[in-house]
Point group: C2
Chain length 258, copies 2
Amino acid sequence: MNTQREIRDFILHGYKHYVPHVSIDCAIFGYHERQLKVLLINIRSVNGLCLPGGYIKRTETLTQAAHRIVKERTGIQNLFLQQFKTFGDPGRALTRELDEKKFSAITGVKIGKKNWLIDQTISIGFYAITDFSKVNPQPDFMSDFCRWYDIHQLPGLLFDHNEMVREALHIMQLQLYHYPIGINLLPEKFTLTEIHALYETLLTKKLDIRNFPKKLIFLGIIKKLNEKVSIGPHRSPFLYKFDKAKYNKALKEGIPLH
Amino acid sequence: MNTQREIRDFILHGYKHYVPHVSIDCAIFGYHERQLKVLLINIRSVNGLCLPGGYIKRTETLTQAAHRIVKERTGIQNLFLQQFKTFGDPGRALTRELDEKKFSAITGVKIGKKNWLIDQTISIGFYAITDFSKVNPQPDFMSDFCRWYDIHQLPGLLFDHNEMVREALHIMQLQLYHYPIGINLLPEKFTLTEIHALYETLLTKKLDIRNFPKKLIFLGIIKKLNEKVSIGPHRSPFLYKFDKAKYNKALKEGIPLH
């Protein structure tokens, strides 16, 4: 949607092509060198921050819709988007923050009280994690900007999106021990210090460096290589890699990594 | 809904009180002595099996709706219902198996092609687990019966409900190590043999009895008591209990049990 005509058509007749009452919102986390961020967009004219989101085409699967929405709204492609929770408490809907007058002001399209976009909406949350130093998000026509925000200094977001970020973080932390979440955030071979920093940052807590490798090896997440790297005088730590065979087996068989 | 008038009103005007396009379906697992079952209902006149499901009132939270639906359709109360995944692939909807003619035949209410109940529907899945020997499910007016079926001999279900059961089982198996899922399925103090049988049944795989207790203690799930039980001549195994303090801490802080 880039022209006024397309937007008008979406607002007035979009329910024919999209499933009404259901949206998708995406919490895209970004990791780099001990920093954890989340991608937010600023909706034009409202001057409010929220997660990138949108509606589901009647011909799409939920995962296809999530990929299309992220691509359209931020320009980012090829994320591993994982559904984490659906949000539907009464009062969470668009109407709470954005009534029909404001909506008309933003879009230039006058809408009625019965327009499909301002009725109660249930939203399906997806999350993904990427290296924020490697992507350059771009806002779409509907947004002023699209930026990474530190997870520990998150501003107040529109709708129930602060709760969505908290829940996405919680589920990501649970899944960290079951899915290959860290695999694209570290080099193929890494030191214990590197994966320790990654896990501490994603779990947002301190982890005992002495027990940490034992735990990851016990859970079948990483394996120690018979190979060292020189990182300074008298400093040659062993290298490790993710145990992809175990990950793939777990993903295929649908069983936990234990 | 127990009278013809209530059903008619729901079919023709239900969208005013319920959120259209979104339903809830519940996979209720039952465990008892190494058996794992799932609760299915047989929809009246269609003669087809499916999970108990229904729509969300506009004033309810999703969890409130799930509890009400389970209570209305099966009579069961006080389950720990956990949202696990939302299903929305095109073609999964009611229309695939149940067109407007069949629907009119079942309910005695003639409906048009534009009726809200036969448009595309996205369904939010919840699961719960209970001891099937302790509950006596009762079907509602819309169903002929409501019965436990062995998870390993599941018949073909309506819609995408076979996939829902598989996914619910998968997520339950992942969460088994993070949430106190087994707590109501065993006595307060239990032997390793008892919890081993429970975990093998829920995970639907063999677990090495020698490593099993070490693993559960390592993950902070159970603790060994300084207490034995006599179960026969020369047989007095130690008793164990769930580590509720660790569970509660994990649930409260939203962090994994590690």
